[in-house]
Amino acid sequence: MKFYDLFRSKQPAYVPNQILRIMKLTIFLMTALIFQVAAKGHAQNINLTENNASLDKVFKVLHRQSGYNFVYTAQIVAPAKPVNLQLKNVSLKEALEQCFRDQPITYVIRQNTVVIQKRNPVSPEQLVPPIEIKGIVVDETGREFPGVSVKIRGTRVTVVTDNSGKFQITVPDREAVLIFSYIGYKAQELSVQKSTVFSVKMQPAENALNDVVVTGYQSLNKKTLTASITTIKMKDLESIYQPNIDKLLQGQVPGLTVMTSSGAPGAVPQIRIRGTSTISGNVQPLWVVDGVILDDAVNASVDDILTNRNLIASGIGGVNVDDIESINVLKDAAATAIYGTKAANGVIVITSKKGVAGKTRINYTTNFSVAERPRIEDAYMMNSKERIDVNMEMIRKGVLNASSGKAGEYGTASDFERYFIDVNDRKISWDQFQEKVKGLEEVNTDWFKYLFRNAFTQRHSLNVSGGTERTTFYASGSYLDDQATAKGVGQKTYTGSLKVYTRIKDNIRLGLLLDVNARDNKSFFATDSRENPYEWSIYTSRAQAAYDESGSYNYMYYNGFKYNFLENRNMGWRNSRNFGMRGTIDLEWKLLKDLTYSGLFAYSKQNTTDADIATENSYFVKSRQRDVIEIVDYTAVPLWTDGGYRKDRNSYNGSITFRNQLAYNPVFNQVHYLNLMAGQEIRKSKFDEQTTEIYGYVHDRGHQQVPQFKMMQYLGTPYWRENLNESAAVSYFGVASYTYDNRYSVSLNARTDGSNRFGLKTNQLFQPLWAVGLNYQMKEESFFKDKDWLSYLTLKGSYGSQGNVAAQAYSDLVATIGTLDLINKEGYLTISAPKNPNLKWEMNYTTNLALEFGFWKRRLTGSIEYYNKKAADLLGSKEVSQVTGFSTVQVNWASMRNRGVEFSLSSINIDSRDFRWSTNVNFGYNKNEVLEVYSSPTVGTLTNAQRSNYSAAAVAGKPINGLWSYRYAGLTKNGQASFYTEKEGQKVLQGMRNINGLEYSGTTMPVVQGGFTNTFSYKKLSLSALLIGSFGNVIRLRNLSQGYALSFPDATQNMSKDWVYRWRQPGDELNTDIPVLEKEQYGQDVAGSSPTNGTMYDNSNLRTVKGDFVRLQNLSLSYDLFSPRLRSNGIQNIRFMLQGNNLVTWKNSKLNGQDPESTGSVMRYTQTNSANVSFGNTFLPVPRTYSLSITVQF
């Protein structure tokens, strides 16, 4: 018998139609399945009845019954005759004997593999026995590497390493070559000739150019990519525990600015990709998960930080971080054009983990973390003694406004004022008063101690994945109990996810993805600053004890009510619940060799309910019950007599996406690579929110309502409201790219959207957006080809357009239903937008240039990128002649430019057997400039750091976030702050209304943001440190006034420590910039005209400081524990990680206790006789946290 080498199928063909043969072969190879090695000791009893069956068919059955692997090619079995078999309870060997009787082929059994060979009757001595190969694969750290696929080159025969990284494979001869591969690692090819025992070390593919970049519509080869896309692999962020994706991105992507808004769980940070490029449109990037746009749960803007509302709003908050495989940040036009009008602010594409064929793997991670509570010492506020000193000054100046209507009644009073009133009422003597005041000086209450805690957060996450080559699955679940440092505030998040991919046929792959998530958020009921624990802790006098000697609540008086924050805190709360579900069906159908159809259908639904509850004894309810009255015949009659208050909001949000795509990727003559894709998409979404306000809600009596009809009538506003928004879009898109010889690539992207939105003629007009790009692989040129030091050198460029729809822009007449008028009840319409045929879409034109490089076998890689993004025809409201019937009209009125440079560099500094040190640095520089604008800004809008109306504050030549300040001119000899005006030498105390008198201070958005990571690993131990930095912006310090004059505080209010250094007597003006405390809050000389002295002082250059900071965001130490013994018990690895977040911040010393990421805060009071709920606006600081994580892999 003679055996031919089966696997040398590359031998010259003797069939005339070579191509046809190759095609047939290919098809057969696809069908010749790779059967997996099943467990040993599998029953070998074969039962089989076949008539005239092909060997191929028989082998499949035998494989199934025996668990043995069959290795063969189409070529080998082609000459075999069909067989007739009648087998009952025979061994595999017997079965095979029957199969191969009178066949031109034979077989050899090696271990669990049956290798089919040609029978050569002429020279049986030449029979080459198949070779058994064994080996072990380890990763770069020397750890056993399960799941690596080992493939025999030229065949589809593949095995996968087991849990201890070991594999066995049978090859036909010594010519065979094995390919070891794993996603994210460099593939290795090893020839069998050398030995039969392999020890293979896999090397991670550092920024490998073979990487695939996912745009959400396509997976593109990085080597031919013309667009600007930054890819983050979650594997690289292993050393950071951060349950929120958005915060995780901080310091990782050049050009991506993350501004933390609050330390409250679930708070949405402000994210900008390459600056702000619209004035009135949407500024947030688009989030995409597995190709489907993720909507936010409720319509909350970034400004809703102030309302506590956005805590549960973010759609991304419901995605489990452990489920993410990679994140791609799409930045330029070439990358985002395919998303059309939604993508002008960039796109963040999340690709989730999928199952991998092989043994079922289980991963369990748990984290415990502790967040430190804020401390009053860090807040830079007065202590008791200093605060009492202010009170004594007020007494001396005769302005301590503490009096009582009758003895024993108090208005707004802390203990100090109460004692003072008691003296006046002769309830206590002056000596007793002095004694008590002395006691108060020592109180030094730390309100943080009572209202905050060291918060304990835990998280558990489990995922299971595995499958066969035909079907893979991934299932996961997680639970996060995230506590805020504020007591009683926290959020629980539950996620679950299931992903199954299966090949229905060999050319059809079907994916089913299901995600569910639920969030429960608990927070405080806050109507004004008085009910926000953070504001309370900072702004409440420390000379006031929280509890009295007997341990019961110590009350202060607030608007005539006995009030204790701790008591009131339990009388109101806010609960939000969110449930979201997302299902996707994903179909990929290879119609022809190079032609693929893919279809996607996704449905998502989110339901959010929130309830704000204030019980009947809460301050909110009591004060409104008292203040909302009707006067009947000169007597006050209360209108709200019973029960508390409850506000419910119920929002529903659902969307359907349906997409069809055809891709054609042929290769001609090995060098011409074409990639064509065209598609069509329908997206429909609906948002519905209903708000109900209930007056007279009794929580304790079974959640019932005692209707307060008179109150509702008095308010005259509806107690039920609905906000409904439906939108639909039909879009067409296409991509064409061509690569020559792996060297030159050009691409063209285009998309056009039609939407149901009013205006801009969208019903008729499809707005085309397009981009072109180039990619030049210089390494492929002959002059670089052999240079070993250069791994790759890429030059990229793109130019294209991005559109942005401003929701309020209409070109046709749009009317809204007028608010109900209780006097004239007839329904009417208000024209919200007049006919405005001139309106155009906002457009962005972006140029992008990038140079990417890798040296010394990618030990050093990096990229430099430059962009110029010009936004034209920006929509805004322009002040026009009122003869139009309107005071402002929407016009395309401004243009803006964002220019910037992004830089990233990663290097492996040391890579020895045991020790490895790698560094990663990236930063983005962005310069924003308003090019032209038609507006008339005022001093008020220009100096407001918490800006909402950008169109009133844009100035050509300056950034859109530019901030102006009044020019402080020193204290007068009376200790009052004075300011320069536009006239040389003139100084005023108030009323400077000429914008030429202002000084430009800088922008409030950072110009440079970056991150710097160092990772050291020694054997099983690794240490990683991430520093983030932000530079070039300015911050306003916390306000010292409440608007009007810089005057004495309210009775219960604490003051900034700055006031300790205030002007007290003539001459002090030479040494201090802190003014005198005015006697009168509304004094005519300082508060008679706008802007008042207090406003000017708070918004002056004196109170404006640089916001640069560097933060040690993350420091982590991890240890991997694995041993043969553990492995034999099924545990592959245990990873311990200790880490600290937000450990140290280096910032401007003038910021004294203020976080550089939060702009100044104003303490605001709300008039209680309007029942409107408005919230405080001081942000909960981002806490310092320490955490321990344990990950176990089975």
Binding site: D633, N723, V730, N756, I817, E826, Y828, E879, Q882, G885
Partner: protein, 484 residues
């Protein structure tokens, strides 16, 4: 090659999806594009003024004074009016709410008229169509009447070519009026007002009136009478007023007596009951300008109050003989600190609590004083006296009322008496006092204000014309401003 079969299938699928345009037809809930006549009726209702566009002009008249002893400081936005500042807008304020509100009404009316120009109505809708169209014309005329009276010279032969106000008559393209507007000659504006009123009255004739917040045939006649009187066309004024008088009778205020006896004079009109909540309400033909309950004068400690001169006009027959005294009398006890702070006068037309009401726009008695004035000016003295007596009989206590006699009056004294009755009858209504002062020779007015400073509006003072707002001259740089 079988697989090639799928390609046309897919292509067909893709093409069929082309027909998804229907998807884009979703209509939002809170907003809409008006289509039907009913929709446009709602648009027109949105155009009727729902916020104040005239009331502060009362501060410029001789009906208002400042009670400096009230202990209150006035709203800063009121001050410029009381002292006849060169512009009524505070420093830095670009938008004039009065100018803006009136042009807003015009924009709505024009929007309706533009659409109705292009459409015709079927037989069932014809009534509604004509009614809405007629109201739109009336609303436009009404708005231009106020604009031209606030911002331009009063009507008169010498001012016919003087600058009036910008006068858009269409709303097709918003961009047409955003800037470079032109003040049309006075004559042209008044002619337009007349023509719009005539069109309105022919369209509204015979139509059912639906509410007192909307114009109807009767109120258009009253407007016509008012406009004619202002233009010196006494004959037309008398005719139009007659038409109103035949449709709208006066309320005999003697019917208030039982109520007054019950409550007592002092407390009859305070708290939640205003003069307007009596039977007097029936005389009001048109409400406008939003909620009047918290107007400038309502509060007992308000700085600005009705003048005692006005109050005294109601005491012609003695204390509490004229029921209109109750509108202006504070009943505060003089020489007490309370009384000093409140002052002798109040404005009790509207309730201070509850019983919400819009401002008075047009009321029946205006027709009586219009006709009386027109007759007096035409020399028909006996007819004029007859009209005055009709009015007074319903205002004065039966026991005190003595009819006037024609013989007691000269032509001049009769006109003076008619105008005095007009002043009481229309005080604080619809901004009429300021408009009357302008047409009656722009007399000198003196206001005493903070620290006893006397501010004087001289006879024929240029400030009898309000200034064009910054929002206008910023965008229409060529527009002539009113001299100062």
């Amino acid at each position: 090659m079988k697989k090639l079969f799928y390609i046309p299938l897919l292509a067909a699928l893709l093409i069929s999806l082309n027909g998804c345009k229907k998807l884009l037809d979703i209509k939002p809930v809170n907003s809409m594009t008006p289509v039907t006549i009913n929709d446009y009726e709602s648009v027109l209702l949105g155009g009727y003024p729902r916020s104040d566009f005239f009331f502060k002009t009362e501060l410029m008249t001789d009906n208002a004074y400042a009670n400096l002893n009230s202990g209150q400081t006035p709203d800063r936005t009121s001050e410029p009016w009381f002292v006849w500042a060169s512009s009524m807008l505070l420093d830095g304020v670009q938008q004039d709410p009065y100018w803006g509100n009136l042009y807003k009404s015009i924009f709505y009316a024009n929007t309706v008229l533009d659409n109705f120009e292009k459409r015709s109505a079927g037989p069932e809708e014809k009534d509604l169509f004509e009614k809405v169209k007629g109201e739109a014309y009336a609303l436009r005329a009404f708005s231009y009447f106020y604009l031209v009276n606030f911002y331009a010279e009063p009507y008169g032969a010498e001012h016919l070519q003087a600058p009036g106000v910008p006068m858009p008559l269409t709303a097709v393209d918003i961009n047409a009026t955003t800037g470079n507007n032109v003040r049309e000659p006075l004559d042209k504006v008044w002619k337009q007002i007349l023509s719009d009123l005539n069109t309105a009255s022919s369209l509204l004739a015979g139509k059912q009136s639906s509410s007192r917040f909307r114009f109807n045939y009767n109120t258009v006649q009253l407007l016509k009478a008012r406009v004619a009187l202002f233009m010196g066309d006494n004959k037309t004024a008398a005719e139009a007023a007659s038409s109103v008088m035949s449709a709208s009778k006066l309320t005999d205020l003697n019917s208030l007596q039982p109520y007054l006896d019950d409550k007592g004079n002092t407390y009859a009109f305070s708290g939640n009951f205003g003069f307007i909540d009596t039977d007097y309400n029936k005389e009001i033909l048109f409400f406008m300008g939003g909620k009047a309950n918290f107007n400038l004068f309502y509060y007992s400690r308000a700085v600005f109050k009705p003048t005692t001169e006005l109050l005294d006009l109601t005491k012609r027959y003695g204390h509490l003989t004229d029921y209109r005294q109750f509108i202006f009398e504070s009943f505060a006890i003089p020489n007490t600190s309370e009384g000093v702070m409140t002052g002798p006068t109040m404005y009790n037309m509207y309730a201070k609590q509850e019983k919400d009401s819009y401002y008075i726009g047009l009321k029946a008695s205006e027709a009586y004083v219009i006709r009386a004035e027109a007759y007096a000016r035409l020399g028909k003295n006996s007819e004029a006296v007859l009209d005055l007596n009709t009015l007074l009989k319903s205002r004065i206590k039966n026991t005190q009322f003595v009819p006037l006699k024609t013989a007691d009056f000269t032509n001049e004294s009769l006109l003076k008496r008619v105008l005095e009755e007009r002043r009481i009858e229309t005080a604080f209504d619809a901004g009429l006092r300021w408009l009357d002062l302008r047409r009656l020779g722009k007399p000198e007015i003196v206001h005493s204000y903070k620290n006893g400073v006397l501010y004087t509006l001289k006879k024929n003072d240029p400030r009898y014309l309000m200034q064009i707002p910054p929002s206008e001259y910023n965008n229409s740089p060529g527009m002539p401003l009113n001299p100062r």
